[in-house]
Structures are given as structure tokens and as C-alpha cells.
């Protein structure tokens, strides 16, 4: 299958396409993305298998051996999929995007990217060792007072250092481009990358403070106790933002890539940039809605933060509108008639569209569930139940990951100088369908059984054959079936990625960044003032956090010693 979609467009578009075809991908830059993608999809494979073990355990079908307990598996599953898969994919994708849209990476940026890569790998190995020894079964949120082996936290520090190196690399690349292209708007994909890396630095700063100044001295025995509430607050300033960075990455695909894949144009550059900017400024403060049932934070502060969290929903609604407008325009341009005729004209047989489309559709119920959880009273019902697990399998496991899967079907061939074959496309469609059905089953079961009260982070138990909890079993069985199907999806996806990387037919694949619509209104130049956005972010974050954090420190309890609960 030829992956370059023919389209009648502006002369500029055609010229650019030709230039890309001649120049193709920079092989040195491609190697960086290849390395990141390989790690991401190996993590998907391992994390997926561990997910299967968990699903089967929760379904009551599998008893885990004593040398590999449920909590160990849960910690590894979370870290591999939430931290490794998402972060490595995001960096590989954005670095490919920076290389493509900003004319190739600078040699020093390339060097920084490799340093960052090895820092992260080294950090991850450090994390893995205590994990395998069952010395770090603290789940991916590593909440104190549960304490892992100090090496686990040293590993986290190296991962953060790697992230910072990569962010600096991206900033150098962007600054260099802007110096050489005075007065021009940063290409849209690079704009998304800048926003994401700014957020990444902001988010990891919090977790760095938590790990370096609180947890490490405490696990080494230098301090007697830890301020649990403060540590959790710092963690969620990071954790919430991290999730939103992966989401922002998926959004960048929806805005920049999908219009091109369906043969259309990007709509309203100004709106797109106005989605990125508020997401950057308002994101970090959303962390508090993960702490709605934490004691020690006053209801007024929680109320204020629910408002901040819901404010992030607004750019998401703009995104939903913009996407469907693009779909409708493109469908009509292709001859779609009537109110919904355009819908049929979309390329449903193209995995590069189908998978991200389902991802977008999944974000509707996922977002609605998110609003439920950030509401004090409703969260009281579902907090710490499997509902939450169902929620983030919808947001991350569908909205984000299915977008990433869709990207892999053109990005991997692009960096490998190969093409997506019709057979592989078909396999991708099958994978997408399996994944969709499986995730709906699993996440649906988790949401429902969560409403009935089934706790999360709990190995299988019948609670002494207690009649009420036995009623959860059918849902847990469905969860297990979903997890099994997902594992099949994982295997197909990983096979597809490595097949496209090393065995697919050679050829040129395009990096499909959509052009703006004709006669598009001019975007105001102030959208490029990243210095201002960063200062605003600092002040918003400062104002949002100063009341609770000062309160937590000044009125701190004596602090907790470390606990090993497993």
C-alpha cells in the first residue's frame, strides 16, 4: 500500500511533499526514534504479559507463585506501561517530529537525546533490580509510608535526569530554529512538542523534590519520619501532569496528523495553539483532584482545585469540536451528502485513522468519568475502587495508547525507510478491533464492579466467601477475559511494530503533517511567547499550591517511619 495519500492541494504542499520525498528521513535522527520506539514496544509486551497475570488473578483463575506476588506484578505493570511505554513513545515521536518539521536535529541535540536515553535506561535498570527482588512492591505511585529499597528511588532520579536532558535538547532545537526563522510561527507539531516538554520539566520538578529531599533521606534512615500528605501532593502534581502530557501528545496527533491521513487540512491554527497554551498553564494544579478524599486539605481548597481541573476540560471540548469539524469538511469535500453522509467517506479501512478515531471516541466516556471523579461527593463512592482502574484504562489504555498504535503504522515505516503493506494494514485493523472490544469489556467490568465497591490494588480474595462480594465474580471474570484478549492485541501490535521496523518492504513513507486550510486566518504572534507562558505557569502553580503546602508543612504531624507492607 502506498502510504503517501494523493491530494489536490496548494502548490506549496506539493512542493513540500516532493522535498520530503527527496530528503526522506535523516538516518541519524531516525535511529534515535527507533531506539525509543523499540524500548516503548518491548515495555508494552512485558507490561501486557504482566497485565494478563493480574487480570487472571483478579478473575480468580490464577494463583501467583510466592516468588512473584500480585503487588510486584502490579508495580511492574504500572511502571512499564504508564512510565516507560508512554514516555518513550512520546519522546521518540516528538523527536521524529522535531527532526522532520525543524529541518533535522542539531548534532548536539542528537547527542543530548542519546545521553537522555541511556540515563533513562540506566535509571530503569536501577528501578527494576529491587522490583524483581520484591524489595519495591510499592505500586507505580510509590506512596509513602510504603518504602521501597533506596535503589528504586535512585533509579527514579536517573529517569528524571534523562527526561530533563531530553527536554533541554528539545528547547535547544526549537530556540535554534526560531533564531534562523525570525518572525515565523513555530511549526505546529514543534509547538505541541514545546508545550509537552515544558510540562514535563514542570511536572518532574515536583517528583524530584519528593524523591530527592523527602523519600531518599527517609529510606536511608537520615530522617525519622516523612510527611505523607506532602509527599502525596508532590507526587500528584507530577502524576496528573504526566498523564496529561501523554494526552497532549495524543492530541497533537489528532490535530496535526489525522487531517492529513484523511486527506484534509488543518483547521484554525490559532485555536490549536490556544488549546496547547491553557493546557500548559493550568495543568499542574489539576493534581489535587487525585486527593479529594485525602484528609488534611480543607474543603475550600478542594473546591478551588475542582474548578481548576474542570477548567482543563474546556480545551478538550474545543478539541472535540475542531476534530469533528475537520472530519465533516473532509467528508463533504469527498462527496459526502446529507447530514451524516460525510461520515461514511472517512477512511475507515485505514488503521492510521481507525485506531486514533476510536481513541478519540473513547475520550468522551473517559472524560465524563473523569468529571465524576473530580466531584467530591461522587468520588467518595468510587475512590480506591476498580472504577478508577477502569477510568485510566479508558483514558490511557484507549485514548492515548490507541492513538500511539495508529501513529506506529506510519512512524515506524517512516524511520525504517519501509512501507506499510495492505496486509499489515489489515492486521492493524484486526488488532484495533480486538483492542477496542477487549478494552470495553475490561474497563466496563472494572467501572461496574468498582461501583459495587470492589477495591483496587487488591489481590484476588473471596472475603471468606462473603455473599455480597461473591456477586463481584462475574465482573471479575469478564475483566479476566478482557485482559486475555488485550494480551492478544499486545502480541499483534508488537509483532507489527518490529515487522515494520525490520522486515517490511523497503520504500519511502511520508511523515504526514497536515497543511493549514486555504484562506486560514492569521494566528497572532503572541502565541509564540513561551517565556510568558512559563512565567504564568509558575505563578498559577505557586498560587494554587501555596495555601495547602504551607499548611501541610507548618501544621505537619510528626511524620511516619517507613513501612514494608508486602
Amino acid at each position: 500500500m502506498e502510504t503517501v495519500i494523493p491530494q489536490a492541494g496548494k502548490a506549496k504542499t506539493v512542493f513540500k511533499e516532493k522535498a520530503n520525498k527527496v530528503l526522506g528521513v535523516n538516518l541519524q535522527d531516525a535511529l534515535i526514534t527507533k531506539a525509543y520506539m523499540s524500548v516503548a514496544f518491548i515495555a508494552l509486551f512485558l507490561g501486557g504479559i504482566l497485565g494478563l497475570l493480574q487480570g487472571l488473578n483478579r478473575a480468580g483463575l490464577l494463583e501467583l507463585p510466592s516468588w512473584l506476588n500480585y503487588y510486584q506484578v502490579l508495580t511492574a505493570h504500572g511502571l512499564l506501561l504508564v512510565v516507560v511505554l508512554s514516555a518513550f513513545f512520546m519522546i521518540g515521536y516528538y523527536y521524529a517530529g522535531l527532526s522532520h518539521t525543524l529541518g533535522g536535529l542539531l548534532p548536539k541535540v542528537r547527542k543530548i537525546a542519546w545521553i537522555g536515553f541511556w540515563l533513562k535506561i540506566f535509571g530503569f535498570v536501577l528501578v527494576l533490580i529491587p522490583l524483581l527482588l520484591n524489595e519495591a512492591s510499592v505500586m507505580y505511585t510509590f506512596y509513602p509510608p510504603m518504602a521501597a529499597h533506596p535503589v528504586f528511588y535512585f533509579g527514579l532520579v536517573f529517569i528524571v535526569l534523562g527526561v530533563w536532558a531530553l527536554s533541554i535538547g528539545a528547547f535547544i532545537q526549537v530556540a535554534n530554529w526560531r533564531k534562523n526563522n525570525k518572525g515565523k510561527h513555530l511549526p505546529i507539531l514543534a509547538f505541541f512538542a514545546t508545550g509537552s516538554f515544558v510540562l514535563l520539566v514542570g511536572a518532574t520538578a515536583f517528583v524530584a523534590v519528593e524523591v530527592l529531599f523527602m523519600i531518599i533521606p527517609w529510606t536511608l534512615g537520615w530522617t525519622d519520619g516523612i510527611n505523607v500528605l506532602l509527599a502525596r501532593t508532590l507526587f500528584w502534581a507530577f502524576g496528573h501532569t504526566a498523564v496529561n502530557i501523554w494526552y497532549l501528545t495524543a492530541v497533537s496527533v489528532w490535530y496535526c496528523i489525522i487531517p492529513k491521513i484523511i486527506g484534509g487540512y488543518r483547521w484554525n491554527d490559532f485555536l490549536t495553539r490556544m488549546v496547547v497554551i491553557p493546557l500548559v498553564i493550568m495543568n499542574i494544579t489539576g493534581g489535587f483532584h487525585h486527593q479529594i478524599i485525602d484528609p488534611g486539605i480543607t474543603p475550600e481548597i478542594k473546591f478551588m482545585h475542582v474548578f481548576m481541573s474542570l477548567a482543563i476540560g474546556f480545551p478538550s471540548l474545543m478539541t472535540a469540536y475542531a476534530m469533528f469539524r475537520t472530519f465533516e469538511r473532509t467528508g463533504r469535500a469527498k462527496g459526502g451528502k446529507g447530514a451524516f453522509g460525510w461520515f461514511k467517506k472517512l477512511p475507515w479501512g485505514d488503521v492510521r485513522f481507525l485506531s486514533p478515531f476510536i481513541a478519540m471516541a473513547a475520550f468522551a466516556p473517559a472524560g465524563a468519568g473523569g468529571i465524576v471523579q473530580s466531584t467530591n461527593q461522587l468520588d467518595g463512592v468510587v475512590h480506591n475502587t476498580l472504577w478508577i482502574v477502569g477510568h485510566f484504562h479508558l483514558t490511557l489504555g484507549m485514548s492515548v495508547v490507541m492513538t500511539f498504535f495508529g501513529v506506529s503504522y506510519w512512524l515506524i515505516p517512516y524511520i525504517s525507510k519501509r512501507v506499510l503493506t495492505p496486509q499489515m494494514n489489515k492486521l492493524g485493523i484486526v488488532q484495533t478491533i480486538i483492542w477496542t472490544i477487549a478494552m470495553i469489556m475490561m474497563s466496563g467490568a472494572q467501572h461496574t464492579v468498582g461501583l459495587l465497591g470492589a477495591p483496587r490494588r487488591t489481590s484476588y480474595t473471596t472475603y471468606g466467601e462473603f455473599s455480597s462480594t461473591l456477586g463481584w465474580d462475574p465482573y471479575l471474570t469478564m475483566l479476566g477475559i478482557g485482559a486475555t484478549l488485550l494480551t492478544i492485541g499486545v502480541i499483534i501490535q508488537v509483532y507489527a511494530v518490529f515487522n515494520m521496523m525490520f522486515f517490511a518492504p523497503k520504500g519511502e513513507t511520508e511523515f504526514p503533517v497536515a497543511e493549514e486550510e486555504e484562506n486560514a486566518p492569521k494566528t497572532p504572534y503572541w502565541t509564540e511567547r513561551w517565556g510568558l507562558w512559563v512565567v504564568l505557569t509558575v505563578i498559577v502553580v505557586g498560587m494554587a499550591y501555596v495555601i495547602p503546602i504551607v499548611d501541610m508543612i507548618v501544621n505537619a504531624p510528626p511524620g511516619s517511619p517507613p513501612f514494608k507492607t508486602w
Binding site: 533564531k179 504572534y525 512565567v535 509558575v538 505557586g542 498560587m543 501555596v546 495555601i547 503546602i549 504551607v550
Partner: protein
């Protein structure tokens, strides 16, 4: 005209007793949210007055200096613990707050800011940075309540709020000092 209406609507909504009581119940929200919002309301309304009374602003605020001095005086006045207390205990001072911040701080700020040179602008920011650090230090370390209406913990929180705002301003000043916009953007492209 629209701007005046919007501004007045916002002002009234902030004066409404439930809103005012909620915002004034927390010291830092009183000073770092309600008061800046009042100033911003003045900035929103400024264009109406500038268009309605152009001669007045030209005559009295030709180079922006008198306006910014008035802004600094009003804002500095409201940063004093005593004045916050009085706003809560005395009705007339509360009314003065709702009038002075939009009309004597917001409008002059909007009118002066564009007239000031970059040195003038940065001097104002530096003044507030230094003031915020000083006040922040005072609020954090004062052993007794400086306001009768607030607890010591509220005061410490406000102190940190001042310091964090000062850090934000310092980042801005460093950015302004080290980054030359003309290296990245064409002046003609400016909005």
C-alpha cells in the same frame, strides 16, 4: 461602553456579600486574588475612560509617570496588614477598597504601562519584586498576628505567596535580561 459595562458587572459580582465574604475569609485569597482582580477590572474599564476623556489622560499622565506612581501608592497601601484589617472591620474602608483598586490603580496602570519605557517598566517590576521579598519575609517570620482578623498560619501562607510571586517576577526579569526578542522575532510581526 461595553468595557465599562463588563467591568462594572464584574465589580458588582465581587462586591456581592457572599462572594466578598468567601474571598476575604482566606488572607491570601483576599490579598492575592480579590485585590488583583479589582485592579484587573479597572484595566478592563480603562479604555472607556481613555476614549471618553482623552484630554484628561494626556494632560495629567503624559509620560505615564504620574499614573504609575498613583498605582504604586494605592497598591502599596493595600499591602499593609493594618489596611486589610480595617477593610474587614470598617465599612467605609471596605468601600474605599472596592473603589480605589479599580479606579485609582487599575485605570492608571493601563494608561501608564504603554507610555513607560522598558526601563520604566522593569523598574516597576523590580520595585515590586523587592517589596514582595521584604513583605514575604516579614509575614513568614512575624511571631504575632499582624492582622486581628487572620491567624498566624494565614499570615505565613501569604508570606510564601509573596515570595513565590517574587520568584515568578525574577524569572521574568532574567528572561527579559538574557533573551533578546529580536533574535527570535521580527518587530514588524508584533501584534
Amino acid at each position: 461602553m461595553n468595557r465599562l459595562v463588563y467591568g462594572l458587572l464584574l465589580l458588582i459580582s465581587l462586591i456581592l456579600p457572599p462572594v466578598a465574604n468567601l474571598m476575604e475569609s482566606v488572607m491570601i485569597i483576599h490579598m492575592h486574588m480579590q485585590m488583583p482582580m479589582l485592579v484587573i477590572i479597572g484595566m478592563i474599564m480603562a479604555r472607556f475612560f481613555q476614549e471618553r476623556y482623552p484630554r484628561f489622560f494626556e494632560k495629567w499622565n503624559e509620560n505615564g509617570f504620574p499614573g504609575i506612581v498613583l498605582f504604586i501608592i494605592i497598591v502599596s497601601y493595600w499591602m499593609m496588614p493594618r489596611t486589610m484589617d480595617e477593610a474587614l472591620t470598617s465599612q467605609s474602608v471596605e468601600i474605599f477598597k472596592f473603589i480605589s483598586l479599580p479606579f485609582l490603580a487599575g485605570i492608571p496602570l493601563m494608561d501608564s504601562w504603554k507610555k513607560l519605557s522598558s526601563i520604566g517598566k522593569n523598574s516597576v517590576i523590580i520595585f515590586f519584586t523587592v517589596a514582595f521579598i521584604g513583605i514575604g519575609y516579614l509575614y513568614i517570620n512575624a511571631p504575632n498576628p499582624l492582622c486581628n482578623n487572620y491567624l498566624v498560619i494565614d499570615q505565613i501562607i501569604l508570606g510564601w505567596g509573596f515570595l513565590i510571586t517574587a520568584i515568578g517576577l525574577i524569572i521574568y526579569l532574567l528572561y527579559d535580561f538574557f533573551i533578546d526578542p529580536s533574535a527570535y522575532e521580527e518587530v514588524a510581526e508584533e501584534e
